[in-house]
């Protein structure tokens, strides 16, 4: 699997094997890290946490720095994000978000809190329907959808890719995004099929 990475100068470079890969039954799948989160939740497994840390912490810190955080602040925030993952492992639900999406939302929220010193209003949680047990197929489908989304992002022409980065690193305001016609929203949208029909939403 090939992922596109950016060096400090903003040049696109391709590198192979930077993202952990597991090979199962002749099929290459990106490691989804769901088992590590479960091990942290069930057994406070420090080895699982260390593996998760080695994989995610450098990426969280890189993301925070590209979003404008100074290195020392990004380091402090990254440690806080990783500690939050440990504490909130029981709240992770693989049918609602992949591990990478979940960690991103934690990093984003800690960044707003610690670096921007603002509150982050979050939507209220939905409760599950009658069949409350998270469905394995839903979790697998979501992980695969997210992986395909990542591949689509990596394969974007650099110009389009750059626009998405600028939106997420905070270089574009919402009105600038609205005015931007080159955003490849068609490419990245509707790749995540959330099992929303299983969510019970009874607000009047």
């Amino acid at each position: 699997m090939t992922f596109r990475h950016y060096d400090g100068g903003g040049q696109a470079t391709k590198s192979i094997g930077r993202t952990a890969i597991v090979v199962t039954a002749g099929k290459t799948d990106r490691k989804d890290w769901v088992d590590e989160i479960a091990a942290i939740r069930d057994r406070q497994d420090q080895a699982a946490f260390a593996a998760l840390f080695r994989h995610f912490a450098p990426r969280v810190k890189a993301f925070l720095m590209k979003s404008g955080a100074r290195p020392d602040m990004a380091e402090e925030c990254t440690q806080d994000v990783m500690a939050t993952i440990w504490r909130k492992a029981a709240l992770f639900d693989p049918t609602r978000a992949s591990v990478s999406t979940w960690i991103f939302t934690i990093a984003r929220n800690r960044q707003i809190d610690m670096i921007r010193k603002e509150r982050r209003p979050e939507p209220e949680e939905l409760t599950w329907g009658p069949e409350a047990e998270p469905d394995q197929d839903d979790a697998l489908g979501l992980a695969q959808d997210t992986e395909r989304l990542g591949q689509a992002l990596a394969a974007l022409p650099e110009k389009q890719r750059k626009l998405i980065e600028r939106a997420f690193y905070g270089d574009l305001s919402h009105s600038e995004i609205a005015a931007e016609t080159g955003l490849p929203l068609g490419t990245i949208k509707s790749r995540i099929r959330l099992a929303l029909e299983r969510l019970r939403h009874t607000m009047k």
Partner: protein, 218 residues
């Protein structure tokens, strides 16, 4: 609940996922998403884009004791930061949970102030870059005719209003940009309660509201 017809734009949802919206806009987005499964699903897509982008952001060098320091943080068990992403229970009442957090309760907890014409408002305290308030418009009453310098988001929480563009019912969001000058009028009957946020001061077209503007703080 009625079918929501007016939704968030991709640019607002994307900026919300990125965490780059001013706080007042984030509050309107979080409140709408609490009411609208369609926008929730779209928000989830943008969260996933953020996650994948983070995974492709390259690797930064960590400090040498990074893992040890994190384990120490965990061992210290400081859970004071858990509020930021904690699972929120379902709100009961008119206001979804994120809004109740800012008001300090549901509709009956709002500290309304009169602003003329039977219209009342409560300004909610948020960070810089936007201002957000609750508006109470009696049935049949109008919000003074106004244009915008920036963007104004108006989310209906109770009742309904109409303006030159369309009708807005509970859960609907109107996104007004600079070129829209409109006069929202609450429908007859139940008072209309809206959550409204701007990223620039409003601009009233008649003299009296313009004089009153500094006092209304809108």
């Amino acid at each position: 609940m009625n079918k929501i017809r007016h939704h968030l734009t991709d640019s607002l949802l994307m900026s919300y996922s990125a965490g780059t919206l001013p706080e007042g806009f984030s509050l309107v987005v979080a409140t709408h998403v609490s009411m609208c499964d369609d926008c929730r699903a779209r928000m989830t897509e943008f969260d996933a884009v953020g996650g994948e982008l983070m995974m492709q952001s390259g690797d930064a060098d960590l400090s040498d004791d990074s893992l040890a320091a994190t384990l120490a943080l965990i061992a210290a068990g400081d859970s004071s930061d858990l509020g930021a992403t904690k699972t929120k229970p379902r709100a009961k009442g008119v206001f979804p949970t994120p809004l109740q957090d800012y008001v300090g309760g549901d509709a009956e907890a709002v500290k309304w102030r009169r602003v003329g014409g039977g219209v009342r408002q409560m300004i909610l305290k948020t960070g810089k870059g936007s201002s957000v308030r609750l508006l109470y418009i009696p049935g049949g009453a109008a919000v003074p005719d106004h244009g915008h310098r920036g963007t104004e988001l108006t989310l209906v929480l109770q009742g309904a209003f109409k303006d030159d563009t369309d009708r807005f019912d509970v859960g609907d969001i109107e996104i007004a940009t600079e070129d829209l000058e409109h006069t929202p009028v609450a429908e007859e009957g139940q008072a209309c309660i809206c959550l409204a946020a701007t990223d620039a001061p409003l601009r009233f077209n008649s003299l009296v509201p313009r004089i009153a503007q500094p006092f209304l703080r809108i």
